[in-house]
């Protein structure tokens, strides 16, 4: 549940019970670094704010936190903010995603860069 009856929101975790701190670590892959770079570049140019990124991450809810990776959530939130700021339209995004998907079955094949 994203908001408990008393108004306490899911992302506001301080003081909650939880298990042991997980110690496994992964190295960031290139696509994750690209998401990070998109965030820095677009926000530094004023297309949205880091606060807007966080707001959208919070609104995506606990299910997204538990079931999507960190940078999956970030690209979803970056996109949400860019749609809201009118940088591109949903139609443009949908068409572009379909075009990307047709290029191949792996990230390497679908990425032109």
């Amino acid at each position: 549940m994203n908001i408990k009856k008393n108004g306490h929101r899911w992302h506001d975790m301080g003081g909650q019970d939880a298990g042991a701190v997980p110690q496994n670590q992964h190295d960031f892959s290139l696509w994750e670094k690209r998401v990070d770079a998109l965030m820095i570049v677009a926000s530094s140019k004023g297309y949205f704010t880091v606060d807007g990124l966080r707001r959208s991450l919070e609104d995506m809810g606990e299910y997204a936190f538990e079931n999507m990776s960190y940078y999956e959530r970030w690209i979803a939130s970056i996109n949400q903010n860019l749609i809201e700021s009118g940088t591109y339209t949903l139609e443009e995004l949908g068409a572009k995603m379909a075009q990307v998907q047709k290029r191949g079955e792996t990230y390497g094949e679908a990425n032109l860069g």
Binding site: Q16, A18, S29, K33, L38, I75, I78, G113
Partner: protein
């Protein structure tokens, strides 16, 4: 099959995850699409994105370690660092960005530990990208309430007479812990001292290494 940047190694020296060879996910599709749309709309260029990735890759705990070692050998610098972390870091050529940096000092009586309970704010310009555990529910939830138990999971045991100061990075500040200088390090150079400063010691979940270990 095109394999872009296959020769790239991560800052830890490990190869990146082989995402190029796994089936294209919905979110990876979105990343490529968003990036290409931003280039088409003249928001950015591929070169700018690559430059930003290189900039981030160049950031690692070694930057923070250099700042800590300087503070250990130069008491005046230490005072400036504790007064204004951003300005002192900039003296050494490290621009910690628009966020203000607050350095907090570990002493015999006080142990500092950093967390962000609302998201995962981290001094990335000084330490690079955060470790996965820093972003975990467990660390974000428990550190403000049971810091000593969390510390024990990291192998740090504090005496009852040591005060723990937990810093919740809730807004525009970023924090770095100035760990206590290990004993028997009088003869070491600044570079040798920096090699004792671990990432975790600057988050507060560890202490600086002893030169004999």
């Amino acid at each position: 099959m095109p394999h872009d940047h296959h020769d790239h190694l991560s800052p830890s020296g490990h190869p990146y995850r082989a995402d190029d060879d796994t089936p294209l996910s919905y979110w990876q599709t979105m990343e490529i699409a968003v990036r290409e749309l931003l280039v088409e709309k003249n928001v950015t260029t591929p070169e700018e994105i690559n430059a930003q990735i290189d900039k981030m890759d160049a950031r690692s705990p070694a930057i923070g370690a250099a700042v800590v070692a300087r503070a250990w050998v130069d008491p005046d610098f230490k005072q400036r660092l504790l007064k204004d972390g951003s300005a002192a870091s900039l003296e050494m050529g490290f621009d910690v960005g628009p966020m203000h940096l607050i350095a907090v000092e570990n002493t015999q009586d006080t142990h500092n530990i950093i967390v962000c309970t609302l998201c995962s704010c981290y001094p990335r310009n000084l330490l690079g990208l955060p470790p996965d555990w820093y972003k975990s529910r467990a660390y974000r939830s428990r550190t403000v309430k049971e810091p000593r138990k969390v510390l024990s999971e990291f192998g740090v045991t504090l005496g009852e007479n040591v005060t723990v100061r937990v810093h919740d990075s809730t807004a525009d500040m970023r924090y770095v812990v100035l760990p206590a200088r290990p004993k028997d390090t009088d003869g070491l150079s600044e570079a040798e001292l920096a090699s004792l400063v671990t990432r975790d010691s600057m988050i507060g979940t560890g202490v600086a290494r002893n030169p004999s270990t």
